[in-house]
């Protein structure tokens, strides 16, 4: 493949970090993908409209020109097809990264991912190093099929890893780690964070990865632990500010970053320190991953709990479209404030 030569010209919009400029979460992932494409000729991209168009969110803009159509592969509208094809390519030693145009459509490939991809190593058909990524989450008036958080649907499948970053630094380090990982990784990107100016940051110019499976303390505290991830990290941080100002509460925020495998140690350690746990996720309530977290804490830190574990989540419904409905449906900063306050006063 005439890649090496092609990939010389790195377009301006991928050179922000090189120039010491701050990048958005979306730009950070784009840089990460670009660097992995340059580093390893086995890495390639597949998905709908990712070539000439650069993807629905322009994540892969400029990549077709740089890497050619053998490594930036536009596909028919076939989630089963290109997900399975990625697995086949991975069998042959490639490292495919496939894009779901919206992560909601990952449901179409549920059988291929859970039955074929996730079990391959166990069945003796070898590892399937591939990444499935796509825009996820709500707060954008996308309605029931352009706002989903799919983690709970796959959290239960042995053989998979699940990543859902909250910051530009983590997003770049984790997408690079995901591409290099020997297991299939579901990489969820919150579209409401993609271009948020507040999330812009200057990233290290040298190659780095963020380890999969390790949580991050987003904020240190001693009175209460909030375990959360993705967009909720930022709403929780807002809430923590309020709680500090208005209640003098010191809130610790654990950003899981990786959901599977769950960084149980980080959670347990923080709970043993604060003795109070609030779990916050944007996903719906029943069957959301808060349950597993609560179960693990009960198994490992029951004696340390001074109050019942509580959760702030979306309500148990499909995701409605109209602003008042979506705003009601989704967790808001004030919800976290109120729930944390209740816990602190317990």
């Amino acid at each position: 493949m005439a890649t090496a030569t092609l990939s010389k010209q790195k377009p301006e919009h991928v050179r922000l970090t090189e120039q010491g400029k701050p990048v958005t979460l979306l730009e950070a992932i784009r840089e990460g993908l670009w660097e992995e494409m340059e580093r390893d000729p086995g890495v390639f991209l597949m998905g709908e409209d990712i070539g000439a168009y650069g993807g629905a969110f322009k994540m892969t803009e400029g990549m077709l020109e740089a890497f050619g159509s053998l490594r930036v592969v536009d596909t028919p509208i076939s989630e089963i097809g290109f997900t399975g094809a990625a697995a086949g390519a991975a069998h042959m030693g490639m490292r495919p990264v496939v894009e779901m145009q919206f992560i909601d459509f990952i449901a179409c490939a549920y059988d291929m991912i859970t039955n074929y991809v996730a079990t391959s190593r166990y069945r003796g058909s070898g590892p399937v190093p591939m990444v499935i990524r796509g825009p996820s989450g709500g707060y954008v008036r996308g309605g029931p099929f352009h706002s989903q958080n799919p983690e709970a649907a796959f959290f239960h499948t042995p053989g998979l890893k699940i990543v859902y970053p909250a910051t530009a630094y983590d997003a770049k380090g984790l997408i690079k780690a995901a591409v290099r990982d020997d297991d299939p990784v579901l990489f969820f990107e919150h579209k409401w964070l993609y271009r948020r100016p507040q999330l812009r940051e200057v990233l290290p110019n040298e190659d780095y990865v963020v380890p999969i499976g390790k949580a991050r303390t987003h904020r240190e505290g001693k009175d209460l632990t909030i375990v959360t991830y993705a967009a909720m990290v930022h709403k929780s941080a807002e809430a923590a500010e309020v709680l500090e100002k208005e209640d003098g509460l010191s809130v610790e925020i654990i950003d899981l970053r990786t959901l599977l495998p769950l960084d149980e140690d980080a959670i347990v350690e923080s709970v043993k320190k604060t003795n109070r746990l609030l779990i916050v996720h944007e996903d719906t309530r029943t069957g959301g991953i808060a349950g597993e977290i609560a179960m693990r804490v009960s198994e490992k830190a029951f004696e340390w709990l001074d109050a019942p574990i509580q959760r702030v989540t979306a309500i148990d419904a499909p995701i409605p479209y109209s602003p008042p409905l979506e705003d009601y449906f989704l967790p808001q900063t004030d919800d976290i404030v109120k729930a944390a306050r209740w816990l602190a006063n317990y």
């Binding site: 070539g51 028919p76 008036r141 029931p144 499909p318 602003p323 409905l325 919800d335």
Partner: protein, 360 residues
């Protein structure tokens, strides 16, 4: 492409397909209504009064209206049933959806058919016979296979029509649905709308098939292919397929060739499309222009009649929109209703005063 209806100069040519002059004018009203409504929606979009994306069918309105017009359209739940795509506003209006409903949908109003829970033309009325699609493409093909299976089970002589884009023919749902309908001899008409593009993906990157009509044989379905911007030709093909379905002839797949002149949605700058190509379709092959030429050229209608229709549509739409703008967004607690039978789902315990987790 099938050749276009020649604009005859004769006084009054015979009307094809057993249509009446009133029906011809009715079809004109519908296709004009479709275009005008979309144009006004685009204005509302630019005024940020539309919530979410706006999807235009500019250049495709003809086949939407003409195909749906071939159905038995009733409002009492005894007629035929269709399931449209996001670009089939014309089909929706033809089967009986109203501009007032559509405008309210796009504005996410509480009194919109989906009560603010679903967007754009994703809404349903079994009485008038339309079933809103969902975003995952292809899913309505199996669903319409089941709708028409039930027509058979009940011995009803009703017919179903489902639309599928050139892009969505690549989905497993399309394949499983049409194969199921064909093997069960369901009274279903499958309209493959080949508008040249699936978002930014040209047809040649979607499939290596020479035509979409070529897919029919693989299902043992009847096949047809028609110039999608020739409304009378589309009506003729659709009518033949609907009649076949109604008389027990099973599934027909009709490929309608048309062109998506706008982007996938408003945000799409169409950089991947050739402006000259768009222009060619706009100037030489616009379905409304061609239909007007056919109507007037064949002496079936006068410019004056058509102008009056246009004026009325314009007036009525402005009223409709003014009204719609006045109606309220839904009450937030509507988010909890209609998830399952038997009452709303629980709300947020921390929003109670005082907060109470036992209420979760």
């Amino acid at each position: 492409m099938a050749n276009r209806t020649p604009a005859k100069r004769t006084a009054r040519a015979a009307i094809p397909h057993g249509l009446t002059r009133e029906q011809l004018l009715d079809m004109y009203r519908l296709v004009r209504l479709t275009r005008s409504l979309e144009e006004k929606l685009e204005l509302l979009f630019k005024q940020s009064k539309v919530i979410g994306g706006l999807f235009r069918s500019l250049g495709q309105e003809g086949e939407s209206v003409a195909s749906a017009y071939a159905l038995r359209r009733r409002s009492d739940g005894t007629g035929d049933v269709l399931s449209p795509l996001i670009r089939n506003l014309g089909s929706m209006l033809t089967i009986g959806a109203t501009p007032a409903e559509v405008v309210r949908q796009y504005m996410a109003k509480g009194d919109s058919p989906a009560r603010g829970k679903e967007l754009n033309i994703h809404f349903t009325d079994y009485q008038r016979g339309f079933i809103g699609q969902i975003s995952p493409l292809g899913d309505l093909v199996p669903v319409m296979a089941g709708v028409t299976l039930t027509f058979k089970q009940r011995g009803e002589d009703r017919v179903g029509m489902v639309y599928i884009g050139d892009g969505a023919t690549s989905t497993g749902a399309f394949h499983e649905g049409i194969n199921f309908a064909a093997v069960k001899q369901c009274p279903l008409v499958v309209i493959v709308e080949n508008n040249g593009w699936a978002y930014s993906t040209p047809t040649r990157m979607q499939t290596a098939a020479k035509s979409f009509a070529d897919k029919a044989a693989g299902y043992g379905a009847a096949a047809d292919r028609v110039d999608g911007n020739d409304m009378l030709a589309v009506y003729g093909a659709a009518k033949a397929a609907v009649d076949r379905a109604r008389s027990g002839g099973g599934v027909t797949l009709i490929q309608v060739d048309t062109y998506r002149r706008k982007g996938h949605a408003q945000h799409d700058s169409q950089g991947y499309m050739d402006p000259a190509e768009i222009d060619r379709w706009a100037t030489a092959n616009d379905p409304v222009d061609r239909y007007v030429a056919a109507l007037t050229g064949s002496g079936w209608a006068t410019q004056k009649e058509l102008a009056e229709i246009d004026a009325r549509i314009d007036r009525e739409l402005d009223e409709t929109i003014a009204e719609a703008e006045g109606s309220p967004l839904p009450d937030e607690h509507e988010a909890r209703t209609d998830v399952v039978s038997g009452g709303p789902v629980p709300g947020h315990w921390y929003r109670l005063d005082p907060p109470d987790p036992r209420m979760a």
